[in-house]
């Protein structure tokens, strides 16, 4: 007897990330998503809610202009403008209460202890399903240096955070390192439950007429289609050295891009810049993945993970 045909109704889209069960692999990227978007996207259809990274104290953020465009991408230097942990607990988290999908809190901090302190507080909330540690924002310290550029610090941070919370920990890695494999191994050894590959790529653009940098903070993080081949390469590399589930992030604009990341080894995919260009990108990408699965008669989306054919 031949197998029944795969139709949009019979697809399995569910994936698992460090103990989290996600109804599909498409979620927003931190900093490019907020409650305001519920006018255009049905949040109950996406894999998870990922609010902007939160810092302990309120932060003003960087000078404007905070974004500029480059061919195939954008550079941002928001600088984690943040209302602080207190506001986050009182307002941001409750604002997502009505939705039926897991909430992943992204945390940014300046020291291991501060990360641990915040992870303990936020991790204790029943509304929060997992924590994403932003150890990679290029806009905080001078010269674009990020926390997660040092394997030893990364390992120590994971160990410390695991001591204070049982929630799954996703380490959001920096692509601005010589060997992302080295950092990935350190995060896994430290106890991370999943890896996000990766944050934005440190970049700069200059207006030749005024001879000034195009963003107020001089350098910033590059995102959008231009970074995707680099991120795909990094997902593939990280997959070689780590067993942890990978969330691919960087330059996903459509279903094809998301599938490409999954074939390289990602279990789920985050979408940032694409939502600025197409406000319904998150759910559109999901539909495109379904279309691909029906086209190739792939019943289970998990079959795509790491499915690149290299002979």
């Amino acid at each position: 007897m031949s197998e029944t045909r795969v139709t949009p109704e019979t697809l399995n889209l569910e994936v698992r990330i460090g103990g989290l069960r996600l109804q599909n692999p498409i979620m927003p990227a931190s900093g490019a998503f907020g409650q305001e978007m519920d006018e255009v996207v049905d949040f109950n259809r996406i894999a998870a809610i990922v609010p902007k990274s939160i810092t302990k104290e309120p932060r003003k953020g960087n000078l404007t202009p905070r974004v500029c465009e480059v061919p195939g991408g954008m550079i941002n230097s928001i600088g984690i403008q943040s209302k602080g942990l207190e506001y986050y607990l009182a307002k941001t988290i409750p604002s997502f209460k009505g939705y039926d999908v897991p909430l992943i809190s992204s945390i940014s901090a300046d020291s291991v202890e501060e990360f641990a302190e915040m992870a303990e507080t936020i991790g204790a909330l029943p509304e929060v399903a997992a924590l994403e540690l932003n150890i990679s924002c290029p806009n905080l310290k001078g010269n674009g240096l990020a926390f997660g550029m040092d394997p030893e610090v990364t390992r120590r941070l994971m160990v410390r955070v695991k001591e204070v919370t049982d929630k799954p920990i996703i380490a959001k890695l920096s692509p601005n390192v010589t060997s992302i494999q080295e950092i990935a191994i350190a995060a896994e050894e430290g106890g991370a439950d999943a890896l996000n590959v990766a944050n934005t790529i440190l970049a700069m653009a200059i207006d030749i007429h005024s001879r000034r940098p195009k963003i107020g903070n001089v350098m910033g993080g590059l995102s959008g289609p231009s970074v995707k081949p680099i991120i795909v390469r990094m997902i593939y590399q990280v997959r070689q050295v780590s067993k942890l589930p990978i969330i691919g992030c960087g330059g996903v604009m459509n279903g094809e891009d998301a599938i490409e990341m999954m074939l390289a080894g990602a279990t789920a995919v985050q979408v940032g810049t694409a939502s600025f260009i197409n406000p319904t990108a998150l759910t559109d990408i999901l539909e495109e993945i379904k279309g691909y699965m029906v086209q190739y008669q792939i019943r289970d989306v998990n079959e795509l993970i790491g499915g690149v054919r290299i002979s």
Partner: protein
């Protein structure tokens, strides 16, 4: 707010640097207010990638069309000129807050520099519909760039023009011109867009004369939905504290007295 592909009814050059686009807005659900804007995809490609914000220039309620007036500046607006009548334009909006027309007891003043008038024109249109008198001071590089003057005059506005070319657009000259207008016209509300220098001037004068005043700000945008915090500006609260707000969400229209003009 909604992303919609709207039919372009007209897209043509109206002066050396300015273009005018009319779109069929019948499928837009929301009412559009003067001061609000749309975030427009200038080409369906990855360069230019980001949408570009444009204010509503004219609202035709009966025909259900919207008009934009835009300055050709860089790659995005250049590509926007290539959209032909009959094709579709990918617009996202309406976004942001609108102006508060607050001059029922007198006349309203508009002070605009360059393409700033594209933002104020819809307000002049509303004023005309409500029988509010309006006076406009238009500043531009050259006489060639003073293009919305006739549109404003068709709304019954009294229009003053100053240009760099003629040497009467410096702050001191405009200040003198405004003094005269304030003396003669019973101005009870003022609106500005397009120049920091002129905004500072109007901020001082409106404060002196206790006149209601608003400004429409411009800032580079990422999302235009209030989620990315790219488009911020500082607002001075009554208690003296400074608050950072989003131009796309809390603005682009703000009380002029509160804006910290950087």
């Amino acid at each position: 707010m909604k992303a919609a592909k709207l039919r372009v009814l007209e897209n043509r050059q109206v002066s050396e640097r300015y273009w005018h686009m009319v779109v069929d807005a019948a499928e837009l659900p929301d009412e559009v207010k003067p001061g609000q804007f749309f975030n427009v995809r200038c080409a369906d490609e990855i360069y230019p990638l980001l949408r570009r914000p444009f204010s509503i220039y004219k609202i035709n309620k009966r025909e259900r069309t919207l008009e934009f007036l835009y300055l050709v500046k860089g790659v995005g607006t250049q590509r926007l000129t290539e959209i032909r009548a009959g094709e579709k334009a990918d617009v996202f909006g309406p976004l942001g807050t609108g102006f508060n027309l607050n001059a029922e007891d007198g006349a309203m003043l508009m002070l605009a520099r360059g393409v700033g008038i594209a933002t104020l024109a819809a307000l002049a249109q509303e004023a005309a519909e409500k029988g509010v008198r309006s006076v406009a001071v238009l500043s531009a590089r050259s006489r060639n760039d003073l293009l919305a003057a006739e549109t404003l005059e068709s709304y019954g506005a009294k229009v003053y023009k100053v240009t760099d070319e003629e040497g009467n657009s410096d702050v001191a000259s405009v200040g003198k011109l405004l003094e005269g207008i304030f003396r003669e016209e019973n101005i009870t509300a003022a609106y500005t867009c397009g120049s920091k220098r002129l905004a500072e001037l109007l901020q001082r004068m409106a404060a002196d004369k206790h006149i209601f005043a608003e400004i429409a700000l411009e800032e580079n945008m990422g999302c235009a939905m209030g989620v990315c915090f790219a488009c911020v500006c500082d607002i001075q609260e009554q208690d003296g504290s400074v608050r950072t707000v989003r131009v796309c969400k809390e603005g682009p229209v703000f009380p002029l007295e509160q804006v910290v003009i950087a």
